[in-house]
Amino acid sequence: MSANNDEINNLLNQDYKQGFITDIQADTFPVGLNEDVIAKLSKVKNEPEFMLEYRLKAFRHWQTMPSPDWAQLKIEPIDYQEISYYSAPKSKDNGPKSLDEIDPEILEAYKKLGIPLAEQEQLAGIAVDAVFDSVSVATTFKSKLHEVGVIFCPISEAIREHPELIKQYLSSVVPVGDNFFAALNSAVFTDGSFVYIPKGVRCPMELSTYFRINASNTGQFERTLIIADEGSYVSYLEGCSAPQRDENQLHAAVVELVTLKDAQIKYSTVQNWYPGDKEGKGGIYNFVTKRADCRGENSKVSWTQVETGSAITWKYPSCVLTGDNSVGEFYSVAVTNNLQQADTGTKMIHIGKNTTSTIISKGISAGRAQNTYRGLVKILKSAENARNYTQCDSLLVGDKCGAHTFPYVEVKQPTAQIEHEATTSKISEDQLFFCQQRGLSAEDAVSMIVNGFCKQVFKELPMEFAVEAQALLGLSLEGSVG
């Protein structure tokens, strides 16, 4: 009986393939955090005065906040004075002007990750912003996007070039004091992507940011801000990986999305941070605040995430449905293995009339991992005829892992309609044997069953990402999605 389980485990225990370290010269701040460090950071990034004030305000607020405590997560205390808050590849001046100025080692690193940055090799139809440790090293297709008025650049550049947009929208969705990690991020964030889609423009290509943590003892604090002006549309992809290191590294990002009237943002993530080894040593702590404000009527935001990495994932991409008739969607696959812990889910806050939200969450646990879905659906008094549909499914592989579901529902409006479905299942010996009896190897059988389980979510991913997501699960693809 256990033979099949062993095969499942072997399959899930494939080594982390993005664990290499790139040897480059870097400017890295000494460890430690105080107001001087923040001032230095702001200076290094050539920021206008208002940003320094913003950062210091956030830092002072952060110091008053207690470190959060979670019921379902086991976390070693983090010493914030032992982290370096800035690490950038050395460059001649304030960032590379062209690809020729980028350290070839870095280009090589992205190439290994399957993200070619050189013009002739660029992926057709996808513009990439590559963030390496604390800075953006390259953004492709910038000029082509400029032609239609789309701004896609590192956020540090946007702070210098488009301060009016930054002042208007930064922290307008996630306030500086929203939570412990959002406050920390606001104080020390170094780079990330900025997107502005002007009125009525359908962004002609997928936009993508690839985050790579390379340096040791650093944290990555990236900040992403996407604004879709009236009647616009953009599809945005986010990918991440990190070297294999014995110590835990902190990744505390903030992502803010704003959609105005009739606008739509589709945000997809394939998260593959280093998960730590089989004994739970090392790995990334992924504490992320992602929130969208569907500010205008008839606007829509879809979050799709495939979470396979990180030692600990703590993340709840959320939608505040402010505009009437606005729509929020959340599709998630979270895989945990060995000693990984994931506590993820979403919040849907219904404020406007006739707002609708859909939540599809698929959790897969193997080894001794713990996988928690935590979700909040809140219908305010003003949200007449709001609707929500939630489906949470858990798949267990083996008998030492756990799956937990915590759905919270708060309804203050009697016309609301809320549905919730939840299931927990195991890959059964019978399913495996059935597939093998039809000629499939155990590996292909598990892959097929897991893919089938995740199908509802995978079909929401853009094509290129669906392929990557399936490959990430260690699975062969061939048509099961679609």
Binding site: Q431, R438, M448, G452, K455, E478
Partner: protein, 247 residues
Amino acid sequence: MLKIKDLTVNIGTKEILKGLNLNVKAGEIHAIMGPNGAGKSTLSHVLSGKSGYEVTGGSVTYNGKDLLEMPAEIRAREGVFLAFQYPVEIAGVTNVYLLKAALNAIRKHKGLSEVDAMDFLTLVKSKTKALDMDEKFLYRAVNEGFSGGEKKRNEILQMAMLEPQLCILDETDSGLDIDALRIVADGVNALRSENRAFIMVTHYQRLLDYIKPDFVHVLADGKIVKSGGAELALELEEKGYGWLEQA
């Protein structure tokens, strides 16, 4: 094609098969009948390679090779097919995907190239039609929400697509109404050929009204206690199994 010699099998410490002998040649249909608990399902499972059974003695030779040495998926690729008594459901995996994956796994084993997508569709549609199944079944998740009869028909569809040499039907008639039984039987009869053999495991004689066996064997207490032609099934229907077990 298949030679089972003195086969003994345990589940845990309990001996289920106690020295079973059976020879099956290509083109033949063998019915294995017997009371509940005689070891019928154990025999189907051991032949198809399900884990959880310990073979303690004897041998099984299939086309000259040691069948028991092969992992389940290799047996399948070599042409051993089990139609399940209780077909499982697989959420999110469409029938058509499973069929294509299985067919390609078998073709690869035989050194053939993967089946062309258009050819595959043509083939699967014609087989579906022959079994009086709606094409919609192909795009539904494997057995999910299927009725008992639909699940069994689905098994026969898989058999028709994969064209095995040795087909083992494990209680295929259980849970079928008379119309479904006829459709399933027609499907099996259409697959009869001189290079293919069938082992039908069944508790009742009913199935044999529709699929006429060449040989009927009675399995009781882990052994074949009596063998005969199709007429033996009728005798069993009349007298029950008691007279054989006591003999």
